[in-house]
């Protein structure tokens, strides 16, 4: 049993390349759609993790109108250092590599996503 668990955990938080981009596999899903995070290295100081396009669809569906929900989404995400991109319907965290580890950024984004994706209609 532990062998099977180990095999599954080996893929959790695992980075993989997808058509030239880097994604981090979280095993998190919303209604069956995977919520993996895309990683961008902006320069040698800053990096960014962003939720996928299906997150915007989910937010539009669950809130009815994410523009109306925007201030609540921002307030829920802010303590984690996570921001809401209202144009793309995505949550993202931008961090300095020498101040925050990638692992910490993943957890912060995952925690913010956990709260935001349980919002109801606005």
């Amino acid at each position: 049993m532990l062998k099977e668990i180990r095999e599954q955990l080996d893929t959790m938080f695992c980075a993989y390349e997808d058509r030239g981009a880097l994604d981090v596999w979280t095993h998190m899903t919303i209604e069956g759609d995977p919520i993996n995070f895309r990683f961008y290295q902006e320069d040698n100081k800053y990096a960014r993790l962003v939720t996928p396009p299906c997150f915007s669809e989910w937010m539009a569906y669950s809130t009815g109108c994410w523009s109306r929900a925007a201030s609540t989404i921002e307030a829920l995400a802010e303590p984690y250092g996570v921001s809401w991109d209202n144009e793309n319907g995505a949550l993202y965290i931008r961090f300095r590599r020498n101040e925050m580890s990638v692992a910490e950024a993943i957890m912060r984004l995952q925690q913010a996503v956990s709260l935001v994706c349980e919002l109801g209609p606005f």
Binding site: M1, L2, E4, I5, R6, Q8, L9, D10, T11, M12, F13, C14, A15, Y16, E17, L22, V24, T26, H27, M28, T29, F39, Q41, T72, A75, L76, P79, Y80, S101, V102, A103, E104, I106, M107, R108, Q110, Q111, S114, L115, V116, E118, L119, G120
Partner: protein, 140 residues
Amino acid sequence: MDARALNEAIGQGIRKVYYPDRIELYLPFFIGNEKSEEFCLAFDRDGVLSDGGRTLEELKKRVGDLTPYRETIRNILDHFGTVALEGGQKLVVRSFQTCSFGDKEYLDYAGGLSRMIRVIALICAADRIKVDEDGVVSLC
């Protein structure tokens, strides 16, 4: 940066430690203080996943009395179903969803862990959010 370098960077902060009788995961949770705290989540030899009581312990440390947050905590647990509170303190996942891949069936341990992380995230924020009986989150 390529996938290998990113995996190395992730591995420095999300540790998985394998013992003959258990697997421990150390995850850097943000629980409202300045810095993230490392939480240990463990699978025992029977496949039971537990937080060792850390989530409620940390919330209690921060807010003192858990009484005002009991309803939100109960609603979170009812909504997510698979995560249970045992002995009034420990968050535990005992059963996992069965999935199939081709003709092979397997238990989704990683999915159960992901649900546990979501429950921990919500409970850690119980002093900032309200969760109703349908699992809907709103700001306090």
